[in-house]
């Protein structure tokens, strides 16, 4: 195993981890701030991928498709929050699980009606469709590097939004004392709608940019959802920082697991989760 091979695996692990982070960050934010366990969060990833498929076919450009898709997913987030999720905040987790599991079925059925049950592919934009040669025989696709770059930029943007802006302070304050935030004249319902829509948009965006490398297929949300729950638990429920670190750890464990111990590849991330929880039962970062 030479150095460029390891480098490729590192880049793959990073790219996969960062993509997971985009999905998991919304999941952990919505749980940490509104207290909602959203099983349908993986469906937003799927919706994103299918939107990228249809919109890029329509417009002929993945970039345009992503821009349109993000707008549509923000709208979807606002509508879902106003119509359904708003009624869950004061309720027991059982209601949340029932409603959000029901939503998975609704989304899958809609997907089947609109797009059918076939597997689809999305073309890599021509501009990014080439590889950087590493050695004579090995090279690395630029599109994957672009995914990592975009995800890192978004992670940085989220850090600034949550840690440095007044809106971020209000969001964090809302996680600790909802009533007090309202008593200071801040419209907490509006903040919840924003956070929810942001979570939906991030997950859908991840699905859109992943579509060219992972293809677009039924039930693709379920797989991502389970891994994202692992990320959220390892990172510490409600912590965006934790989700970033955990997502990269999971990305690496999964990638290197497949290469180094292929017989156990399906288990590596769960072994990692068990080890982290033995060491820190509350996850890497306590709830912020």
């Amino acid at each position: 195993m030479d150095i460029s091979f390891i480098l490729i695996q590192l880049l793959n692990g990073l790219q996969y981890g960062l993509l997971l982070f985009l999905v998991a960050s919304g999941l952990t934010l919505v749980f940490g701030i509104m207290g909602i366990i959203n099983l349908a969060h993986g469906s937003f990833y799927m919706v994103g991928a299918y939107l990228a498929f249809s919109l890029s076919a329509m417009t002929g450009s993945l970039l345009l498709a992503v821009l349109l898709g993000v707008v549509l997913s923000v709208v979807l987030g606002i509508v879902l929050e106003r119509l359904l999720f708003r009624h869950l905040y004061q309720r027991d987790h059982l209601y949340q699980v029932l409603l959000t599991y029901g939503l998975i079925l609704v989304f899958e059925e809609l997907r089947s009606i609109i797009w059918g049950d076939d597997v689809h592919g999305v073309a890599i934009p021509a501009l990014l469709n080439f590889s950087l040669p590493l050695t004579d025989t090995l090279s690395y696709p630029v599109y994957r590097l672009a995914i990592s770059g975009v995800c890192l930029a978004l992670a940085l943007g989220m850090y600034v939004l949550i840690q440095k802006t007044r809106l971020g302070m209000m969001i964090r304050a809302g996680a600790s004392n909802r009533e007090m935030v309202q008593s200071l004249g801040i419209n907490i319902k509006l903040i919840y709608t924003l956070v929810f829509a942001l979570g939906v948009a991030l997950a859908a965006f991840a699905g859109m940019i992943a579509a060219p490398v992972s293809s677009v297929f039924p039930n693709m949300g379920a797989q991502v959802l389970i891994i994202c729950f692992v990320v959220v638990v390892i990172g510490g429920i409600g912590s965006v920082r934790g989700a970033l670190l955990a997502a990269i750890l999971i990305g690496m464990a999964d990638t290197f697991g497949k290469v180094l111990v292929p017989e156990f590849a399906g288990m590596t991330i769960y072994v990692l989760m068990a080890l982290v929880l033995l060491w820190r039962p509350e996850g890497l970062f306590k709830r912020a």
């Binding site: 007044r166 964090r172 304050a173 996680a175 009533e179 007090m180 309202q182 200071l184 004249g185 912020a288």
Partner: protein, 237 residues
């Protein structure tokens, strides 16, 4: 008579089956200081929370500056110039001292910006020394200063203080009282709930005594002192 800021008419509030407020009328005028008194469990906090939209009264009406706010969300009521320092303080422990203050900043109803970050820090120098600390790392007295400072950041016309000195060492409590005096002198109306009746009566233009969800007395501190019946029976003084 000056403008009425906050007004409650015939409030009836329940917690489950228990009937906590039984027809309370209450009024705060601009610049006025009101001592809201009564023993524990008589409905003081419930009255405040009912007027702020945090608990919904089953009957009665709440208005702010003459506008009906009975069914308004708490943030709309707050935005009409009312700030609340709740019992137990309600600081955000996961935000720094600076963030606790900055997140609340807002001009007053008429666009006034008398209170900003610099003035709050100047008023509470102890907070200025701890701007980077988490809200949860502060002592009880510092937390109380932070809650009051945060309330002032919203440039309110009315500040409601529920048990602001509870559980504080006498020296710290005295500091809080002197700050309340300064706030009062700056023209902000206050509603003060506190176990230290002496301090409340020395500041209040009007004292209101609640007993079992009803107002049994409303008048000046002098009238209250000359009413041994209310003083003894309802306030145990």
């Amino acid at each position: 008579m000056s403008e009425t800021l906050l007004r409650a008419d015939g409030l009836h509030t329940y917690y489950g089956a228990s009937h906590v407020l039984r027809g309370v009328d209450f009024e705060v005028a601009k610049g006025e200081t009101i001592g809201l008194m009564g023993r524990n469990g008589m409905g003081k906090t419930t009255l405040i929370r009912s007027m702020l939209g945090l608990v919904r009264p089953r009957q009665g009406r709440v208005s702010v500056r003459g506008e009906d706010m009975t069914d308004a969300p708490p943030h709309s009521i707050a935005r009409r110039g009312i700030a609340y320092v709740p019992e137990g303080r309600g600081i955000f422990p996961n935000l720094s001292v600076r963030e606790n203050l900055v997140m609340a900043a807002r001009p007053g109803v008429d666009g006034r910006r008398d209170w900003d970050f610099e003035r709050v820090v100047a008023t509470f120098p102890r907070l200025g020394e701890r701007l980077g600390h988490g809200g949860g790392q502060l002592s009880g007295g510092e937390q109380q200063m932070l809650t009051i400072g945060r309330a002032l950041m919203t440039n309110p016309d009315l500040l409601i203080l529920d048990e602001a000195t509870e559980g504080l060492a006498p020296l710290i409590a005295r500091e809080i009282w002197s700050i309340i005096k300064t706030i009062r002198a700056s023209g902000i109306a206050t509603v003060i709930v506190d176990k230290n009746y002496g301090a409340v009566m020395s500041l209040a233009n009007r004292c209101v005594v609640l007993v079992k969800g009803r107002v049994v007395f409303s008048g000046s501190a002098a009238e209250l002192s000359s009413n041994p019946e209310v003083m003894h029976r309802y306030l145990s003084l």
